[in-house]
Symmetry: C2
Subunit: 252 residues, 2 copies
Amino acid sequence: MEIVIIGTGNTATILGRKLKAAGHVVVQVFGRDTTAASKLAYELNTESTNYWNVVYRNADLYILAVSDIAIKEILEELRLPDKTIVHTAASVSKNILKNAATHFGVFYPLQSLKKESTHLPDIPIIIDASDESTLKELEILAQSISDTVVEADDEQRMKLHLSAVIVNNFVNHLYALAESYCNSEGIDFTLLLPLIKETAERLDYISPAQSQTGPALRNDTDTIKKHLEMLKKYPHLKKIYETFTESIFTTH
Amino acid sequence: MEIVIIGTGNTATILGRKLKAAGHVVVQVFGRDTTAASKLAYELNTESTNYWNVVYRNADLYILAVSDIAIKEILEELRLPDKTIVHTAASVSKNILKNAATHFGVFYPLQSLKKESTHLPDIPIIIDASDESTLKELEILAQSISDTVVEADDEQRMKLHLSAVIVNNFVNHLYALAESYCNSEGIDFTLLLPLIKETAERLDYISPAQSQTGPALRNDTDTIKKHLEMLKKYPHLKKIYETFTESIFTTH
């Protein structure tokens, strides 16, 4: 497939790498940041541009991998009659694309993508499209770079994204709070990495509701009291501790 | 080393398996639950008992792997002059053991241990002891089952445990809340597993404070508002969402 990638950020970069690795040809990278665009184009063995009037017109697919705000701005200028365009955003309706091209859809990678990554993680791809033939086309493309391809409409995609915010953004924030606490107390945060990985990997075979443990679950008030005492200097983390202790106790 | 394991729960079982796999001899399992004790003894190719007066007297080490409350109860009965005893508890002082045996210490596995596990995870071992020779002995034993062995006193061990509660119990609770939300909304929670694993594995090479992303970090009020609207039916999760959104925003 001949593909134009619009965007130069994390999503554009990682999707570009995955697509190239699967044998697709990225014919052009569009980016308003010339340096970033030429860097990504070089990596994907293609050319870059930052002028709409020279965007390649004969690609099979245009992937709009930019921020939610940039999608709106770009769509004011971009018209690709008879072509297929997709965006990669979780929270933006598919129909925002309806005036930009004849065929349109969504190609949402349900993964945290960082261009600094030295590996390409597994990426479930969530697709949606304006019509059956476009959907089929996107499904085939997605299957060429992922073992997990699922169709979901705007509403379902938003729900997936909300869940992703919980298990990625919020979980990562807990890691960051723990790291900050360890650093302040002279404790080595990396000692916790095997525990962190085991907690994540265990989900393959046991539901998190079943594997819950800890002082809050046991209503071990002695330990909880000690911990809150230890967190006196950390009011922010103390509040999180109290919220979770109550939430775990109430849930179980 | 000849070892007596006191306890039949998750810690006793997993430590027993690790020790056996490293070539140590578990000479006896003590447990008040006869069925559990004989089951673990059978797995470890040894005998079990539930009577203090028949506890094997010539072991090199007695590992007290029971709950915090059970430690106190057992220590009312157990006297092992000239022997070495350790407990495996995060939040219990080393000195609780000082009347039970001449040499004593702590052998705390910093991992979430489940006897149902089909694999043996990496387990950092946190040690402490009454004297230098016991510490050395515990260090050698710990190194025979783990690549990560660290000395920490009562206070440092408590701090590690508090951190473990955050990155294991609290993180797992977020997984459970997300799973429950997905189930209620007819969304497949397993689609999130690659994201969950990537979030954990990334800590090997990037600090969580640096890799934070998401609507709260970007102060993307449109998305946050949509999410809170979607959580109207889930007041409990909505409160967690608000707490994290504020906490992430304040931290960064």
